[in-house]
Symmetry: D2
Subunit: 346 residues, 4 copies
């Protein structure tokens, strides 16, 4: 096999039949002006340009829009810092005493929103007892409707830090805007919700701090786009990023989101960052949380984010409380057993 | 709370504001002519008609299209025979010595297509040894392109029955058209592919036979529509139907399909029929099969359909063979262990 | 620019870093045994194999599954007979006096289902008067539920041919199974519904007859897959195929389907076959039919399929009848005016 | 028909069979504490609670999660200020001399990004001459990759205002973060991109200013969620909001997005706000812009956002320049003719 020893192409441009020679000259000239080597193969049915060099700055859409271009395909992934190819070992993100991504199973649990001190402390003690390593609860809440409860805000932050003090659990809570960063200085793990995952202003700001960040997948985001959002943070200098599968939007509406279980092994292969999953937001159905949690664990997740709702005093309904003292405790135990089996099989 | 003691509504029609009285009279008269009781609630902002009776024959789209109608919502599921509400115990489908849905884990494995006797027998012996209870292989193949290999057809059927004879394993293979039924008289389990799942002519024909049928989910099919396809078979008198999650089509194109893991616990709750999953067709990536198989098992699947490709003599590439003697054997062992843990946790 | 004068590649295989030399040799040997020329470019970061020759029989999934392969990309479309590249002039499909695809606008209209003689004849006369060139109505109906009205079947076929006799309009109606073909010998245009568009047994049978066929898009079907279904019919020898955009399934559930307007100009560019659209099935909402019909016409459709429901005697509700005598007539007039403007702009 | 004269229900809760009476009492008590009237209908198979009152603050997900609840359905839309039911006349948004939504067709055109003064001024003069009423160009750019061109930023804003001065055209440009608002004080129309449409912090800030805002649809956003984003702005006191269909993400990847043409007539019916469309972002293909622009106009859009790329001096390729002097000019003329026909038909 006579091999051409040259550096492999990073991008391939497929030209239309019989491209205008002047336009082709313009295109190749422009590509070379970007510092790229252009390797053409011209044949009867198809001309292909292979581009060698740093193509991460090349605007594919611009090229695809040209009259003489049929298609543009990237050969190498557009992400670098998050790419496992260039960083084969797992990144371990330290949060409190826990190292997320170190091979253990991390449970991040707590109520959806901070409602009051009693509710939060009851939940915090319960999830700690069940084995959760990190407490989560929302102080600022991102809601589709301006008329929905937007969270206790600053007061919620205060209660959260109080719960940390009392239980010793590190805390995770969601940020909505870069201007809130000063308020998050004592938070252990900052969460970026699915509605803000394309808020590149916020991502850029998070790249400048030295604090772990958990980023949820947007409901219409491909693996690559999600990794590019992580790349924004790593490119800024902060490499402590955790990816959290939170469901995608599909035609199936029985569940609010479709929990994309394959994202866990795919991302573990593409990136060195830890990958966790939230079966509750990922499906929108409490009744599916046990089965989906087990599935995520069996698929190799580094951890799970699980909503646990206590409401001891003014319980809306008995069923909810069961999740806390009964269901979550039982589920956590089963998950740690399952994790052991999965680890042995690897 | 003053309750109105009457039979509950099965369907709800939301009318537009100030509906034309003549049209409203026409509509309610027509609904009553279908044997339904109409229970209206007329208010300032909204009039609602509750329909009591057998609404499974009511054409929702026809009603939704009326000028005076805002929306139509079904309160009860449109499926009956497959509904767990009316048949709470699990249906167990007997295939050879195995009872699919009886609490055990059934592995259905074998090559995608029958290629020749040696390939098929090698695969059959290997999957049997690894613990698979049913052999699968395609004789007639449904291909997107008319130029792709369409299977060995009748000769493939002959080889499949030969493999059954030699290994004692019952066999599953795919049917493409109702006219092929006579050829399938010795097949143990008939498979309906995702491209034929809305071929109601075929489903009706399968309802008239006494042989187990495995139906794959269509790539754009909701749980309800899938169950309605099963309903076609049960309504005809054949209750031995197995549902096989095979992935849905979404915007994410890294995997060919998105493996909808939530379908497993959702369907187990909605229907009494067994639910299995095919991680290979469900994702299109061999490298994800181990993780997705474990996940499906952890989510409560009654079984798995797994493609195992041997090719000892003229192996296209080494990697493939590993799946047979190495990977599938190891995976099967891990799945049976995992299944035991999950069963204990229930 | 030093060009390599050789026949262009039709398929590109991207290999993983440092592929095993034995496996690479196996792969290239196998590709050559298929009659393909293999043009490798091996570099530091990436090895690419370009395949020259007839790649339409190469199984991409099989190659993509190999251990040493990162990705496989097709450079040329997998469809041939339907490809505009090899057949630049529009195909005109003759149906009665009309030539679909000849630059005129064809309206195919009539009731969803044949209900009785009076209903059908009233509709037929009305759509003819409004300018429709083809009558459509369902005799055999493909329904999601086994309990829904399945059509008048053979009696419906008789009434349809009676309506053709009385109005002189050619007729279109849907086929559900290849075994029904003898019943369709007097039908002018055979319709394949979206549920049967991957029923390759039926498509193969339709390739052997000499009668125009209209194929609807499946709700999860890409342009390429849809064209491959057309390719099944053309490969069999029948080139009178019309493509009908009928909506795709997406997360948006306000409309039953999402009407993919872009499919019209895209398909007109990719294929020489006529492209029509059905705004009623494409959205599921009668109230959107006028706007979507205008849009499809403005986007360059060769025709429209529109449901027109008369019900003079036992009208379910007045609103429906308005569509026939009033709305459809007005809409048809507006569409012919619009079509003239669009044609002038081309 | 004995009608119950009471205020109609705004929300319906479907309970599971035989709900626990204590939990039911808890639920109804809690609903009443929110100021709602609860109208139950209890039957053999199903119990339904109708809720009368202001349900916009009720958390549906919370109720749906309860053990005794089967499903929750909203009868009335959750949006108020944007709802056409409560505000039947079209809102006209004044931008410069133009009133968007007044029945005329507004063209918003210009280059994707401000590159330099000459490029911007050439484009501005050209689009003005073709009949565009508003100039658009990006100064701050929202990019998926941190390595892509992020815009000229403050310098871009300066050039944009310079172009406004020279041509007299009002300008639209995109905001990325609430903290940038002071920079936008001279901008005529602020654009919110699809990546920020769930950035509720930004939307809340835009509700407090007195300046028109154009909000793009997110790629996974339903009509209702999109209208809720508009509701955030109107709820804050700013009613000058324009909705811009920009494509949704589906399985079809031939186009980058699927242009949801039905959104135009649907939104015109649901809301009084103006609705425009961007065929370029909505499909990602320049070659489809003419057909999709005509389609959007024929479907009733109040305007179009179209990217026009000049590059007279260092043209990347001839094809691009054609769009400016040739194609856009011709397209604009055809669109104004088409708009007249559509208006007459209404």
């Amino acid at each position: 096999m006579p091999l051409q020893r040259q550096k492999g192409a990073q991008m391939i441009i497929l030209l239309k039949n019989n491209p205008d020679p002047v336009q082709l000259e313009d295109l190749t000239g422009w590509l070379r002006s970007l510092g790229l080597t252009v390797c053409p193969t011209v044949g009867v049915g198809q001309t292909i340009l292979g581009l060698v060099g740093d193509t991460s700055r090349v605007d594919m859409d611009l090229i695809a829009a040209l009259d003489i271009v049929e298609d543009v395909k990237r050969v190498q992934e557009p992400f670098k810092n998050v790419n496992r190819k260039f960083h084969p070992e797992n990144t371990v993100v330290p949060v409190g005493q826990t190292g997320i991504g170190d091979g253990s199973l991390t449970l991040i649990a707590g109520p959806c929103a901070v409602e009051n001190e009693e509710q939060l402390l009851t939940a915090a003690h319960a999830v700690k007892k069940a084995g959760a390593q990190i407490l989560r609860a929302g102080a600022f809440r991102s809601r589709t409707s301006p008329y929905s409860f937007q969270g206790l805000k600053v007061e919620g932050m205060r209660l959260l830090l109080r719960a940390r003090e009392e239980t010793g659990l590190p805390v995770m809570t969601e940020i909505l805007d870069a201007s809130q960063l000063p308020l998050f200085k004592d938070v252990d793990l900052i969460e970026v919700g699915s509605g803000n995952i394309r808020n590149y202003h916020l991502l850029t700001a998070l790249g400048r701090i030295k604090k772990p960040v958990l980023i949820r997948r947007g409901p219409a985001m491909t693996y690559e786009e999600w990794l590019m959002s992580a790349e924004y943070i790593l490119a800024g200098g902060n490499s402590h990023v955790i990816l959290c599968e939170s469901g995608i939007r599909t035609f199936e509406q029985y569940t609010r989101n479709t929990f994309d279980i394959a994202s866990i092994p795919v991302l573990k292969a593409l990136t060195h960052l830890p990958v966790v999953a939230d079966p509750c937001q990922g499906s929108g159905k409490y009744s599916l949380v046990p089965q989906l949690s087990r599935a995520a664990c069996a698929a190799g997740a580094d951890g799970l984010v699980i909503e646990v709702h206590p409401d001891p005093q003014h319980a809306l309904c008995e069923g909810e409380r069961q999740l806390l003292t009964g269901k979550f405790n039982a589920l956590a135990g089963q998950l740690f057993s399952l994790h052991k089996i999965v680890q042995q099989g690897e």
